[in-house]
């Protein structure tokens, strides 16, 4: 799949949100097709698809990826529930601008203070996207209990009255301790977020090994914060180098973009920017490939521009 199709007519992505309806889980054959903006992607795999977004190393962009892919899925017409599985450090609500609307968390649901549907925060603009937080900061959760709780949650979401969601995205905390174990428990597939630096790659490799030990085989990679100018100048590893080290199929390549910081400050996901940012377009592409269970077939490498004119001879 060629990622060059990003810079074209982003307005065609405005699909109407699908009305949630009760439907039995279905199995679809994997679809391999070129990325095309003039049609809706076809959902592949069993629904609901439970995807954990993890990395190992902190600060590589897991929460940003979860927020933007979740909203992209909602824009494409699929129902999605994002679960912030970080017990103690909650951030996903900030990126989505929903921090003032989180009244109940999973801890309250377990204690019987509220029902599950009361703890789900529905986005006002995209009604088919919901957020669920595990706990409030400084609250305690029994560690051996967290994995079971998430399994019950996913099961309850599958059996709810308005029908199961198409996607359940779990934002995994950093590290490989109890929080990580809790988050990966109900997942069937994983998205590994990494940056093209050696420390992140080492942690990502370890996390991939743990995921495979735990039985998760469908693991795809997103390379975040890519600087094509540094890759051209041989100061940063290329995306192909990263893939050579980890041996994972590519779900997306996200360029470094200052709009990420601004969107975090505003509480407005990057994919909703008008005009679209490069990183936002890349996230949309990644969401597209996630829906169709596809991976990238080629990446773009920056080259020297053609020298034109007499004065370019002087190295200007």
């Amino acid at each position: 799949m060629i990622s060059i199709h990003t810079i074209i007519k982003p307005s065609t992505l405005q699909f109407r949100p699908k009305r949630p309806s009760r439907k039995p889980p279905k199995t679809l054959a994997p679809i391999h097709a070129l990325l095309q903006y003039n049609r809706k992607p076809q959902l592949a795999g069993d629904t609901p698809r439970v995807v954990v977004i993890t990395s190992g190393k902190g600060g590589v962009g897991k929460t940003t990826t979860t927020a933007n892919i979740g909203i992209s899925l909602a824009r494409l017409g699929f129902s999605a529930v994002a679960i912030d599985a970080d017990v103690g450090l909650r951030n996903l609500d900030l990126l989505l601008g929903l921090e003032n609307r989180v009244n109940y968390t999973v801890v309250e649901v377990l204690n019987g203070d509220c029902r599950l549907d009361q703890a789900l925060v529905r986005d006002k603009q995209w009604s088919n996207f919901e957020l669920l937080c595990i706990s409030k900061p400084r609250s305690k959760l029994p560690l051996g209990f967290g994995g079971k709780a998430l399994i019950w949650l996913v099961d309850a979401l599958k059996n709810r009255e308005e029908g199961p969601p198409d996607f359940i995205l779990i934002d995994c905390p950093a590290g490989i301790d109890a929080g990580f174990i809790t988050a990966i428990t109900p997942a069937n597939e994983a998205v590994l977020v990494t940056t093209p630096d050696i420390t992140s790659l080492r942690d990502a490799d370890r996390v991939t090994g743990l995921l495979e030990c735990d039985g998760i085989r469908d693991i795809k990679m997103i390379v975040n914060r890519v600087r094509t100018d540094m890759i051209k100048g041989e100061d940063m590893m290329s995306v192909l180098d990263v893939q050579e080290m980890l041996g994972l199929p590519l779900l997306g390549v996200i360029p470094e973009d200052t709009e990420v910081i601004r969107s975090t400050n505003r509480g407005y996901p990057l994919v909703l920017n008008k005009p679209p940012a490069l990183a936002g377009l890349a996230f949309e592409q990644a969401a597209w490939r996630l829906v169709e269970q596809d991976s990238m077939k080629a990446v773009m490498m920056e080259e020297e521009p053609k020298k034109r004119g007499f004065f370019s001879f002087f190295g200007g």
């Binding site: 060629i2 060059i4 810079i7 007519k9 017990v87 103690g88 649901v109 204690n111 019987g112 203070d113 509220c114 029902r115 599950l116 549907d117 009361q118 400084r138 609250s139 305690k140 959760l141 029994p142 560690l143 051996g144 209990f145 079971k148 019950w152 059996n159 009255e161 301790d177 109890a178 174990i181 090994g209 743990l210 495979e212 030990c213 735990d214 094509t228 041989e234 100061d235 590893m237 192909l240 180098d241 050579e244 041996g247 199929p249 590519l250 490069l278 991976s295 990238m296 077939k297 080629a298 990446v299 773009m300 490498m301 920056e302 080259e303 020297e304 521009p305 001879f313 002087f314 190295g315």
Partner: protein
């Protein structure tokens, strides 16, 4: 005939315009015609017709005509005189051109300077290119360091062939080169490099990780210092520090109850319901206690429990006092009191 070589003009395009303008002032006296074509502010000479003439043009032509008609002897003499005149005039003209001597010297100095600049520029470009090539290997922190450390294999890099790209959307921001191998976008040029990961490579990586990372999912969480139960695999134990701020090993939640809470779809949540019921019970109990406190004792039965008093008056007063104490919430008026029609004292009527 004046020779053009007497006025050397080697590189007319590099000479400043003002010198030619000064020189042009003298061209009409020499009888030199020149047609100048100006291009880009520079003077380029296309035609240069030089012919030497006497100062009086008409008389020169007439003299020539007379020489032809005279005898040959006179012709030879006149030819000599003509040549002498021409040479004399040429000397005069050259002598009257002091300005040209200055620009000629200046022109050679300018050429030297310009040539020197060009050579220096070429040297700078060559040195810059060499430095750029060398610095990528010598600069610390580049990808070459990763190759040296053995983190990256150098033999696999840069072997992919560019893909052909078709742009069906006719996006003016995306310019595809003629060979379809590069794309210009947002002011930068990109090349499409195909992904080189195959299924075999993926399997190799999976096998490597399975050998490197042996991990069992922890199922038992213990505080640091607790003994491991005998029937528990040590590899499945996760040790939690006692002062961990966000974790606890103590499970205060009943698992069955928690599961029920998660699956609840309708109605009031369990804890809210339980609290509400507890509050209800408490309120009822409180109300019952208050009712008991306001009960009136039957005088007939109360006498059985009375102590014998010393004075008769005291006993009568006590009985009256007991009788006159009203029940709580009772609407009985003193006039309806069954003991009699005796009016009660005011302080006894009021509760």
């Amino acid at each position: 005939m004046a020779s053009i070589a007497a006025v050397p003009v080697r590189s007319p395009s590099f000479l400043p315009l003002r010198n030619f303008r000064n020189g042009l002032q003298f061209w009409p006296e020499l009888g030199l015609d020149c047609t100048c074509k100006y291009s880009n502010g520079r003077v380029t000479y296309r035609k240069f017709v030089v012919k030497a003439m006497e100062s009086d043009v008409d008389s020169g032509l007439r003299n020539d005509a007379v020489v032809i008609k005279s005898s040959e002897k006179d012709y030879a003499e006149r030819q000599q005189k003509l040549h002498q005149n021409i040479v004399a005039k040429l000397h005069e003209s050259v002598g009257s051109l002091p300005v040209f001597a200055f620009p000629i010297g200046k022109l050679s100095g300018m050429n030297f300077t310009i040539g020197l600049c060009i050579v220096a520029t070429m040297l700078v470009v060559v040195v810059k290119g060499y430095a750029a090539k060398g610095s990528s290997d010598r600069r610390p922190g580049s990808v070459a360091d990763l190759v040296r450390r053995g983190q990256l294999r150098s033999d696999r890099r840069g072997i992919s062939t560019p893909l052909k790209y078709e742009d069906p959307f006719n996006n003016p921001m995306v310019k595809v080169s003629k060979s379809n191998s590069t794309v210009e976008m947002c002011g930068k040029v990109y090349r499409l490099a195909p992904v080189t990961l195959t299924d075999e490579l993926q399997t190799v990586h999976q096998k490597r990780r399975s050998r490197a990372y042996q991990w069992k999912r922890p199922t038992v969480f213990l505080k640091e210092g607790d003994p491991i139960p005998s029937d528990v695999d040590p590899d499945t134990v996760r040790w939690i520090p006692a002062n961990h701020p966000f974790a606890t090993t103590a499970s205060d939640i009943d698992e069955g109850l928690a599961q029920t809470n998660v699956y609840q779809k309708h109605g009031v949540p369990f804890r809210i319901q339980a609290e509400h019921e507890a509050l209800q019970r408490k309120l009822e109990a409180l109300q019952n206690d208050q009712k008991l406190g306001k009960l009136v004792i039957d005088p007939a039965s109360a006498r059985d429990f009375e102590r014998p008093l010393k004075s008769h008056m005291k006993s009568e007063n006590q009985v009256e006092h007991n009788i006159s104490t009203p029940k709580s919430g009772s609407s009985a008026s003193p006039s309806d009191h069954p003991s009699g029609n005796k009016p009660l004292p005011e302080e006894l009527q009021n509760p």
